[in-house]
Each structure stands twice: as structure tokens, then as C-alpha cells.
Point group: C2
DNA sequence: GACGTTACCATACAGCGTATGGCTGTAAGT
DNA sequence: ACTTACAGCCATACGCTGTATGGTAACGTC
């Protein structure tokens, strides 16, 4: 099937995704171009379009790939604050591995919108925390905002530029304490 | 001085900033190009570069312009929860007026980093709330994360796509309650 | 051998930010 | 009054982007 002269095997979507993720981690989403990706894969730029629709959907797939690797806390009956902390740490760890991609995903949520795994896990934890069904959406969105804002600020450096303690690990723990205490507002 | 044939007056940085902001509000930051801006100002693209350094610094100025318009709560001795709410509402209102610009600013914080007005106001409020100096940075960053994450989510639509109550005004009030309750975590 | 399909590639287009250099009319210096 | 300097503007061009279009080569099936 007219495999590339330079390469042994034909391209595959998975290979494209993995290479794109590597380039993104190395040079940021804005540093990724179809031409550079093609060079990295030793292929003509237009060859990529026989395996993916467009650069946008390529980024969607890569986001989904990273999202699927999130190790969310299992429903093992552990205390809810502990589970909430685990969920936070999982997201933050992934964001530190792929900062530019998370930044992109957070600015283009249509890309991640369909990943309801995270919301389901969060809802379960919040329910375990005694949040009633009427407040569930509010609590979930408040926690989403806090978590995603922290990741955003850490990724962009906005949290570093503010004065005060420079240890963001400690600040993250504090923010989790803050969140756990804040959930009291939903107990009426 | 060889003023443009089509325009009566010469360009000014302020006119450029104002027009850029208008175009950004209409078509997003990613929809703004120097060429379109030039068309809007009835001028050759390269003429802009006699008044601004680059597109990047242009965006910085526009961000600063919007930031300066933020009406932060005055230090009038009002109860701190009320001041905290006012600060939150001020930021959210501005973000709703200029969503795309806020999205840009949040992803490029080097642009807004030098605007410490907000942090000073927040620190003042938190001190009034009884937060000790050791916890001030933690509390400030947690609140920054919550606020900026909410604005991010509302701007991109990530908060709409989640299920539950669709009224984001109400959710924002809930999040403020959540924040106020959460500050208890810093009282030791 | 003919044919359809798959993988790949070459060329081209419209758009981007902006470096470079040139034109023109006003202002300042003498 | 004459020269010089400069401010404001513009035309052209370079290298980059994503991708539409259409062509070519190798394969499986008949």
C-alpha cells in the first residue's frame, strides 16, 4: 500500500497521537505544527491527513488520551476527604506531566466536555460527604473551579508570581483543606 | 507629518487599544489580526508598528486597560464577607464583558502579573477576616484559584456542560458561600 | 491483466506577524 | 531661506501556519 519510502511501517493514529503528545510536552501546544509533526514522523505533512481529520480533532484525541490515563480514586469506601484529596492529586499530577496540554484543554473545554468520568467520581465523593442532591451541582462546580483554577495558576506561573510561600505543594494541601472546610456551606 | 490619506487625524496608541478591544470582544482574541485591525482603522498594517511594539505588547496594554477599569471594593470598613463578594462580582462582571480577553490573560499571566492591585485588595480583606500572616499567601492563592477557575469555566462553557442547575448566578453565590466557609480552615 | 483501495506525496492558496526600506510632509536649526 | 531630521505612513517580502486539491505507487481481489 505504498508505505513511505523512509519508514518501515505505515503510520497509525496511535503513533501520531503519541508523537504529538511528546512534541507538545517538549514545546507546548502552540509549538506544535503539522509540519513539525510530519518531520518527526519522517513523513510528508499531507500524509497525516489520511489518518486524522484535522489538527483540532488531533488535539482532541491527545487530550482524551491523557484524560483516560487519569487514575481516579476507586470507590473503596475510604473516607471522603481522603478520596477528594486523591482526586485532586491525580489531576494535578497529570497537569504537571502535560502542562501545556492541560492549559489547552481548559481553554477549549468542548474537547474534554464528554469526559464525564471525573464528574461522576466527584459527585460520588460529594454525596459521601453528605451533600444533598439539591446542592450537588453547586458543590461540584465550586470544586471544579477551585481545582481547575489552581492547575491553571500553577501551569501559567500566576501562582508563583504572587508573593508568599513559594512551596506550591504545601499551598495545594492548604487549598484542599480550604475545600473540605468550604463544603460545610452546603450542609443546611 | 504625512498623515494617512484616508484618515483625518494620525493614529494614537489609545485609538489602537480601543479598537483592538472592540474587535476582541466581537471576534475573540484569536480572531484579531494586525491586518484586520489595520482595516478597521483604515490604515496600512505596518503603520500600526509606529505606535506599538508588537502584537504581544498590544495585547498586554489592552489587558492592562481592562484591568484598570476593575472597580475593586473600597476599604470602607464594610464587613469582610461583603467585600469579598464585591471583589468576586467585580472580576466576574469584567470577565463577562470581555470574555475572550480574560481567557487570554489567564493563559498568559506574564501579561497581568504586574497588576498587584487585586492581590493587595484581597490581602486586605483576608486580613480583616482574621487570617494570620503565615496563612495569608495560602488563602490568597486558594481564593485566586477558585475565582479564576470559575471565570475560566464560565467563559469557556465548561461549567454549563456539567449537569445540574443552569443558573450560574446562583452557582456563583454558592461558590462565594463555599469560599467564606472555607476560610475557616485558616483559623487555627 | 484490470480494478478499486490504501497510503503517500507535491503543489498551491490564503492567512498570519513583522523585517526592511522607501516616500512625504512638517518642524527645527542655522 | 535652505538644510537637516524625523514622524507618519506604506509597499514589498519572508517564513510560517493549516489544509484543499489532485496525482502516484503498491497492494488485494477477481
Amino acid at each position: 500500500m505504498a508505505v513511505s519510502a523512509h519508514r518501515g511501517a505505515p503510520l497509525s493514529p496511535e503513533e501520531i497521537y503519541a508523537t504529538a503528545l511528546r512534541l507538545i510536552d517538549a514545546g507546548g501546544v502552540e509549538g506544535l505544527s503539522m509540519r513539525k509533526l510530519a518531520v518527526e514522523l519522517d513523513v510528508n505533512p499531507m500524509s497525516l491527513y489520511h489518518h486524522i481529520d484535522s489538527k483540532t480533532t488531533l488535539l482532541q484525541r491527545v487530550c482524551a488520551l491523557v484524560g483516560a490515563q487519569l487514575s481516579l480514586p476507586p470507590d473503596d469506601g475510604a473516607p471522603w476527604p481522603q478520596q477528594l484529596r486523591a482526586l485532586g492529586h491525580a489531576c494535578r499530577a497529570s497537569a504537571r506531566r502535560h502542562p501545556s496540554l492541560w492549559l489547552y484543554a481548559q481553554s477549549h473545554p468542548e474537547v474534554t466536555g464528554s469526559d464525564h468520568r471525573l464528574w461522576r467520581a466527584l459527585d460520588r465523593i460529594l454525596t459521601a460527604a453528605g451533600i444533598g442532591p439539591d446542592d450537588l451541582a453547586h458543590a461540584r462546580k465550586a470544586l471544579f473551579a477551585l481545582l481547575s483554577g489552581f492547575i491553571l495558576g500553577e501551569t501559567t506561573g500566576a501562582l508563583d508570581e504572587q508573593g508568599g510561600a513559594a512551596d506550591l505543594d504545601e499551598t495545594f494541601e492548604s487549598s484542599l483543606d480550604f475545600a473540605i472546610a468550604g463544603l460545610a456551606a452546603f450542609h443546611r
